[in-house]
Amino acid sequence: MKTLPVRELVLLAGLVALVAAIFSRVGPAFGVRMLAEAACYAVIALGLTIQWGYAGLFNVGLMGFVALAAFGTVLLSYPVNQAFWQGAGPGMLGWTFVTLVVGVAITIAISRSDRIGVPKPLRMALTLVAAAITYLAVQGQLDPAASVIEREAGFVGGLGLPVWIGWAFGGALAGLLGWVMGRITLGLRADYMAIATLGIAEIVKAFLKNADWLTRGTLTVSPIPWPVPTPADLGFVASRSAYLSVVAIMIVVLYVLLQRAWASPWGRMMRAIRDNETAAAAMGKDVNRRRLEMFIIGNFIIGVGGAALITFATIFDPSSFMPLNHTFLIWVMVILGGAGNNLGTIFGALLVYVVWTMSEPAALFLFRQIEVIGGDLFGWQAPGDLATRALQMRVFVIGLAIVLVLRLAPGGLLPEKRMRYE
């Protein structure tokens, strides 16, 4: 017998009421913007719920994957930079690339040289030497190329392709990085994966921030083209609504695909692995391979969502990917909404982002009140940077939300529905 999903309906109605109230207060232009951003976060959250809720994979390097995907979008979709293509830059970069390929090929060949009978310690030493020489050679060619490009053209620019190709490419880059990460860390315990993803995120950000020739670094790249007409053509509300509908279609497609996959034999296998790894392995399932699959698919979705998010902002600023605010905001979305429940994740993403956006003026208002009351009652002199401190309150609240949800409602607001086979 099928009962009415009361819990879902009540929560959804509450969310709609909240959004409507905010709309009436801040006006449609800001409201649609908030919803579009929330939708992009929902895509990222769907990617994370696959990793965490389905496979129990611990990815705290979300911002690294998002930044990489956004960079992929910039590289493909930003208008072509003629100064770069007419200068000496492409040739020099080409030679660098050739050097890299040759060096890597030689290094790999040496590392396989045991097949022709080279003893192991010697092979190890030779591999390291080859890798070091490759590194130095590439570095030696890249540095002059980078300075030439920066002098002649500023940065390499893009290829001028449609944005959706850029998103797909960005997602693929994130998935590729996920493959590399997964190969290294999936066999180990979950904590190591958390540490490794945290590290890779920092490295990706450091690279994007400092490779001025490639990303313009702290000078930032803007405007990234939109897949729909920009506010300059249509006005804020219409163009942002169009963007919102593009992302909403993406969410619906992803949701349907994920639900289908989850109900399929493949999904059953994934649940089996998550719930009892040993038993699944005993049944002949290749646990690490399946997890690697999950990690790559999840990172692809995270990348696409992140690329959409950055495209909406139209500015690519490598130093804006803050792990504290963004990565863990997405984590709150997933565990509050219900890890492993796609609907719950989307709901959590919308709710948390709406609350998050509104929390900034709320925190400022609250602290202003505290300042006034404290001054009146105790003659307390508030510190001058109270406003910046008030915003730190939000980081505290994210942490508190994580701790409380994990402690009190580990399943989230809409817990995953356990399927029963009877």
Partner: protein, 343 residues
Amino acid sequence: MPEAGLLTVLPMNELVFFINKGIIAGLISGSIYALGAVGVTLIFGILRFAHFPHGDMMTTGAFFALVLLVLFPGAGAAVGLPTAFVLLPIAMAMTAVFAVGIDRVIYRPMRLAGSRPVVMVMTSIGVMLMMQGGIRLFAGTGTRQLYVAADSKDIYRIPLGGRDIVITEPQLLLFVLTIAAVIALHLFLTRSRMGKAMRAVADNPDLARVSGISIDHVVRTTWLIAGALAAAGGTMLALDVTLKPDLSFNIILPIFAAAIVGGVGQPYGAIAGGLLVGFTETLAVFNWSVLLRPLQPLLPEFIEIPGRITFVPTEYKIVVPFFILLAVLIWRPTGIFRGRLNL
């Protein structure tokens, strides 16, 4: 110059520069990492999860020292040492109690509810965010000095011909403190009843429990030690440089690298790992051309030593501990000292 004997070519100046910028700097960051990594590795070994807020625990300890500094500004002048160092034992005690309190309020209920280790790690990340937000809320986002006006940052110079070997008072105190902490920890773990109980729990918690060891006491002692050492590391770091509230992410990665390199659950390994990571990090961004430059007259003309040779550009310093970590995870996941991989 036919008579340019080896002595005149001997790069005394450059060697001293190397000692200053390479050896001493590596020792300093290595000691700080070691003090943090011991706590991380103990928690890893006994509670079996990666303790992400450890960097913030260090910052918290330093802020306790700052509060004490404001309350008793005259304490240092009475002894003749930096005030924060004199007050350090109190700050260490406060942080230790603070760590136990966090365990009581947050981790213990989760442990009793039988949460999986992965959930514990996520909880610890939540705690990290709370601590980070809390620190900035109460102390602001700016940098501070951990000094009062009466303190003098003494600088010792060891003359060696041209250049001097320079070491500041806080750095010297840091070395002394690290060595003292290592010896005390060693004696505690090998001689005392509680230390032996801790090692027993780390080896096999079930066996330890049935042989009458109180897990609760062991856990509390773990947090006390981890908190105290974190406070020591954080305060000494703040004394050497400045007190920054956003330390945590930049320091937690090298600390984890140190703990894993040394072998999870191995306090001595953590110390060795901390020093290893600290040295590698410093030497990777060290400008080696300073050492090579004196060789220039000996080389043929067509080889020119560039002005700057580093393994890694300075802005990628954070990459170094990560690559150490990756290399260890790939080739020797148990770490140098054979820690336990699957706790």
